[in-house]
């Protein structure tokens, strides 16, 4: 009987390590599967940006994944690199030169009519100072160089976007810890993608029409339209750095949240970034401008 107990004890004692080993094997397998699933999703998300892995400076410092993200998120198109756009732009530039010539001749004729004092009843009194005419012509000539100003604006937007993004590169390392971040940011990117597509089209449209818009600033009748158009264009250009700024700020803030709450935080951030993009695209900026003017007056006083 003692022998039976001894054998049973022996079997029980030695089955524990076996059971423990089995359990450990299951755990390792589960870990491998989990890591594999994680890696799969990470690869899928990274794959979206893989064609943008050409930023050597960022690649060497932060690796290709972050380099690709950095390039795709701060991407600003160069419309004049496309020969078709360049050719359409030249056609519209010819139109703006035509407007400039019309303005000079028309202004000359109009001023002469006013000087004869035979058209006052129809057109009213005009400011006939030469400086005003020279100013108008100078503005027209400046308007013909609007594409250079637009290119410069695009460069500024690119730098602003890169500046906003560079502050967060340390916090978005492609590690299993940041899996939620990557998944949620991919969802965020898809959500606000429509704004960036609209922005992309508008950048190309403005690249073609910028000289015409700038020339339309000169005559009083079209100045209001041109100003409003330029206002909207500036807002659409600023959409990218502003959206990146708020996203980066959100990511940095989200690091302080408990892990369980982070997905909800990212959903909130996605909604917020969507609203920011919507506001930049179609929002009313009048009260911001009025606030700015009041602030300027307060500072000046």
């Amino acid at each position: 009987m003692k022998r039976v107990y001894a054998i049973l004890f022996f079997l029980l004692f030695f089955s524990y390590p076996v059971l423990a080993a089995d359990y450990s094997a299951t755990d390792v397998g589960a870990g491998m599967v989990s890591a594999g699933i994680g890696q799969f999703f990470k690869d899928q998300i990274n794959g979206m940006y893989s064609s943008f892995q050409n930023n050597t400076a960022i690649n060497s410092q932060f690796g290709t994944a972050r380099g690709a993200l950095y390039t795709v998120i701060t991407y600003v198109p160069d419309p004049y690199a496309d020969p078709t756009i360049k050719s359409i732009f030249l056609n519209y530039r010819a139109l703006s030169i035509f407007f400039v010539v019309l303005f000079i001749i028309g202004e000359f004729m109009n001023r002469n009519l006013a000087r004869m004092k035979v058209s006052e009843n129809v057109f009213g009194n005009r400011d006939l100072s030469t400086s005003k005419f020279v100013g108008g012509v100078a503005m027209c000539f400046l308007g013909l160089f609007a594409n250079f100003i637009f290119m410069f604006a695009l460069q500024v937007i690119r730098v602003l976007s890169q500046f906003a993004m560079s502050n967060v590169l340390d916090s978005i390392a492609p590690s299993p810890d940041n899996l939620i971040l990557y998944v949620m940011m991919a969802i965020c990117d898809f959500t606000v993608f429509i704004f960036f597509i609209i922005r992309f089209f508008i950048i190309y449209a403005v690249a073609v029409l910028c000289t015409v818009l700038a020339v339309l600033l000169v005559p009083e009748s079209s100045r209001d339209f041109a100003k409003k158009s330029i206002d909207h264009i500036v807002r659409i250009l600023l959409l990218q750095p502003v959206a990146i700024f708020f996203t980066c700020l959100g990511i940095l803030v989200m690091k302080n949240l408990p892990v369980a709450l982070q997905p909800f935080g990212y959903i909130g951030l996605t909604v917020f970034v969507f609203l920011v993009c919507l506001y930049m695209l179609i929002g009313d900026f009048e009260f911001i401008k009025k606030g700015g003017k009041v602030l300027a007056k307060v500072i000046a006083a």
Partner: protein, 114 residues
């Protein structure tokens, strides 16, 4: 060389340059407008000659008003019309210089950068 000769030569030079600039400009401005070239060409033609007609008419009217004011001894009106004549001349010169600058300098510079 007398001052008058210098002035005449300078003015002739400006007009010749303006003539060549405008001739070049006519081709540059209206030929690249595709389907709108015909309309734009017609508009430019009538506007150009219309402005010249108005400019000449202005000088004539100002001259007549000047003589009438001088005849009726309205010193203020005479001075005002003289100033208008001066402004007319400056304006004409400014238009010519603008066209020279546009077609001889700005457009070639723009073409270089594209």
């Amino acid at each position: 060389m007398s001052k008058l000769k210098k002035l005449t030569w300078s003015f002739a030079g400006i007009l010749l340059t303006a003539g060549s600039a405008l001739a070049e400009g006519d081709n540059n401005v209206t030929s690249n407008l595709g389907p709108a070239s015909g309309v734009a060409g017609d508009l430019m033609f009538y506007l150009k000659w219309g402005s010249i007609f108005v400019a000449i008419a202005t000088v004539l009217i100002l001259w007549i008003r000047h003589n009438l004011a001088a005849h009726s001894k309205k010193v203020g009106d005479v001075l005002q019309i003289r100033d208008d004549m001066k402004q007319w001349f400056i304006m004409g010169l400014a238009v010519i210089v603008s066209f020279i600058f546009l077609f001889q300098y700005i457009i070639p510079q723009l073409d270089k950068f594209i």
